[in-house]
Amino acid sequence: MSQPKYKILIVEDDKQIQKLLEVSLEEHAFLLKVCGTQKEGISHMVQFNPDLILLDLGLPDGDGKLFVGKIREFSNIPIIIVSARNGEQEIVDSLNLGADDYVVKPFFTGELVARINSALRHVAKKESNPLLKVEGLELDLEKREFRLEDVPLHLTPLEFSLLKFFMQNSGKALTHAQILKNVWGVGYQSDTKILRVFVNQLRKKIEIDPNRPTLLITISGVGYRFG
């Protein structure tokens, strides 16, 4: 084992799901700590010093969203939410509070591991790299240019900022409000119509089949995920 094992803190109260997460994640060479309450979660944050948190929103000692807020007060550690179906609003709230991603129960372990790896990667590459690459799409920050399969893309300034924001946050679940706030600015958070229009335009430029996007994916009721 050349690189150190990533440490994951699991905050989940259901015993079976705990077991499932333990078994499946240990197999992927993660170091785990499992607890069932937020209180324990906070104390493990210090003692265990994890690289990532898997958080169930339905915990016995209070709203999981608040836990996200509490963690964000002192740490930028990636947080992945484990949520029930029909919980779009909860997911949006948690993401807006600073969670990085989410998976919906029932989930497949493959999907979960992919999310975890993506979130960990995201931390690793945060160090500013002038050349970002997601699949065939390249962003050259020095030249301020996007290239799709080495062909430069013609984008309007807003499309450029939007795609840049997506590129820089690739793999993350982004809420409408987050995107609007970062690309358009404070005050535009609820103008989802403009966002729909621009995403539509962008897809026509970057997707092979804009009707079946593979890069810029919609997350129903939540927002978008890029890459």
Binding site: D14, L20, P106, K193, R196, N200, N211, R212, S220, G221
Partner: protein
């Protein structure tokens, strides 16, 4: 001197305001005075003309005094009556403030009105604008029973006949919120006077009074105005507080229901999630899997997924049915919705001739995107289930006036006209379909509920060799 003495009884009688008696007394007094005192005495003959003048003056004085006294007496009576009414009104308004039921208000107000006017009184209730007014209470001050037992006024109302012409006057009164009937300018030939009990836009009912055209005075009208406005205010207060408590109850019920659905769905889903998760782990572990175990595990996953779908459908249909679908409207892009729906069935759609047809520049409209996607997913799932390998499935969108139309076309299939009418019913499943197609008969029911919550319609039809499921939702402009 003696002449003045006769004035005393005249004054006494006249001051009582009785014109006739005072005239008689004056006449007798003058006669007696003439007989005993005016020369020639002991005759009724008057020799001095000046005495005739004084007799005449006596009459004038008696007339003036008694007429003034009569006026004063009348004024006094009016004042007393007014005071009595004010006192009654005060009593009424004081008593109705403590009351929490419309019936109680009527129970207090009706006898008060009827007794103070001495007239038969009716109360007509109209709960809804489209409803026929109903005789709700009747109080007759002349009937001996009523004075003892006030509940009697709500009983035996069927025996009271209200003619159709009276009903027409009543309807007019309620519809226009204006006083009508005997004693007014409208429908004065009717037997009764109808006074609407209304506050702002709401007409709660009308008071019916059996009076005659000439009995209507300004005084009476003022009294009735005051009484009815007191009644209207208390009716309004009661209906508002009823509405309030009803709202509070609905709110509490909603909350309980939501909590219940939340916990049931959480409790059902969590174990299922662990089953699916663990089994899917087994599937990826190649080391111990032989063909037999692989088949078994696939079947476990298939069944668990089926159960999950069924559970979701059951929970959703219960949720949509038992309370109003709460929409979270936002801007949706139909291209997004279609591609999301198609993603769910990616693998199987490869085996179909699948296409998306958006005949508009922009497919952006306002709706609850998650729920609309749900409808499209359910329709697409059905289309896939009832189609063969290689047949065409098309998702389409077009704007038609103020609505946007979304359809799912399924080639090479047919639904009998009889079944078409039934497909959106709960638990309905088309007969003769093999058991391999597993459905709960809830998918389309949920679709219908969602579309209806958006103010749209959903329908299915056969076109040539295809079945089209189509729905529309109104386009909202900002």
């Amino acid at each position: 001197m003696a002449a003045l003495l006769i004035l005393i009884p005249v004054l006494i009688v006249a001051s009582r305001g009785d014109m006739k008696t005072s005239m008689v007394i004056t006449f007798v007094g003058v006669g007696l005075f003439n007989y005993f005192f005016v020369p020639p005495v002991y005759t009724f003959v008057v020799s001095d003309i000046s005495h005739l003048w004084s007799f005449f003056i006596f009459f004038i004085v008696a007339y003036l005094i008694s007429s003034q006294a009569k006026k004063l007496k009348l004024i006094g009576e009016v004042i007393r009556e007014r005071e009595k009414r004010v006192r009654r009104l005060y009593k009424l308004s004081r008593r109705v403030t403590a009351v929490s039921e419309m019936k109680q208000v009527i129970k207090i107000a009706m006898p008060l009105i009827a007794e103070s006017l001495g007239k038969e009184t009716f109360f007509f209730l109209r709960k809804h604008v489209d409803e026929m007014p109903k005789l709700y209470a009747h109080y007759d001050p002349k009937s001996p029973l009523s004075s003892k037992k006030y509940d009697a006024m709500f009983e035996k109302l069927e025996a009271i006949f209200i003619s159709s012409s009276e009903k027409a006057v009543l309807d007019w009164c309620l519809d226009n919120g204006k006083i009508a009937g005997a004693g007014t300018d409208t429908f004065l030939a009717s037997d009764m006077l109808y006074i609407p009990i209304q506050s702002r836009e709401v007409v709660y009912g009308a008071l019916g009074l059996k009076i005659k055209q000439d009995e209507m005075t300004t005084e009476l009208k003022m009294f009735l105005d005051s009484v009815t406005s007191v009644m209207a205010v208390s009716f309004e207060r009661i209906s508002l507080s009823e509405k309030n408590s009803k709202n509070a109850i609905t709110l509490a019920r909603e909350e309980l229901k939501n909590a219940l659905y939340g916990s049931i769905s959480h409790d059902l889903r969590t174990p299922l999630a662990s089953i699916l998760g663990m089994v899917s782990m087994l599937k990826t572990d190649e080391t111990w899997l032989d063909e037999k175990k692989r088949v078994i595990i696939s079947q476990v996953i298939f069944s668990a997924k089926k159960m999950e779908r069924l559970m979701n459908n059951l929970l959703d249909s219960a949720r949509f049915e038992s309370h109003k679908v709460v929409l979270k409207k936002d801007w949706c892009d139909i291209a997004d919705i279609f591609s999301q729906a198609a993603r769910e069935f990616e693998d199987i759609l490869k085996e179909r001739n699948f296409s998306i047809k958006i005949e508009e520049e922009s497919g952006i409209f306002k709706a609850d995107c998650v729920l609309i996607e749900r409808v499209v997913v359910n329709l697409l799932e059905n289309a896939i289930k009832y189609s063969q390998h290689g047949s065409a499935i098309t998702l389409g969108f077009q704007k038609e006036g103020a609505r946007c139309n979304i359809f799912v076309l399924n080639e090479d299939s047919h639904i009998s006209e009889e079944d078409l009418k039934m497909v959106f019913e709960k638990f309905f499943r088309i007969k003769g379909i093999s058991d391999d197609i597993n459905g709960s008969g809830l998918g389309l029911f949920i679709c219908k509920k969602i579309v209806e919550a958006h103010g749209g319609t959903i329908w299915a039809r056969n076109v040539e060799n295809s079945v089209i499921f189509e729905f529309n939702v109104p386009i909202e402009e900002e």
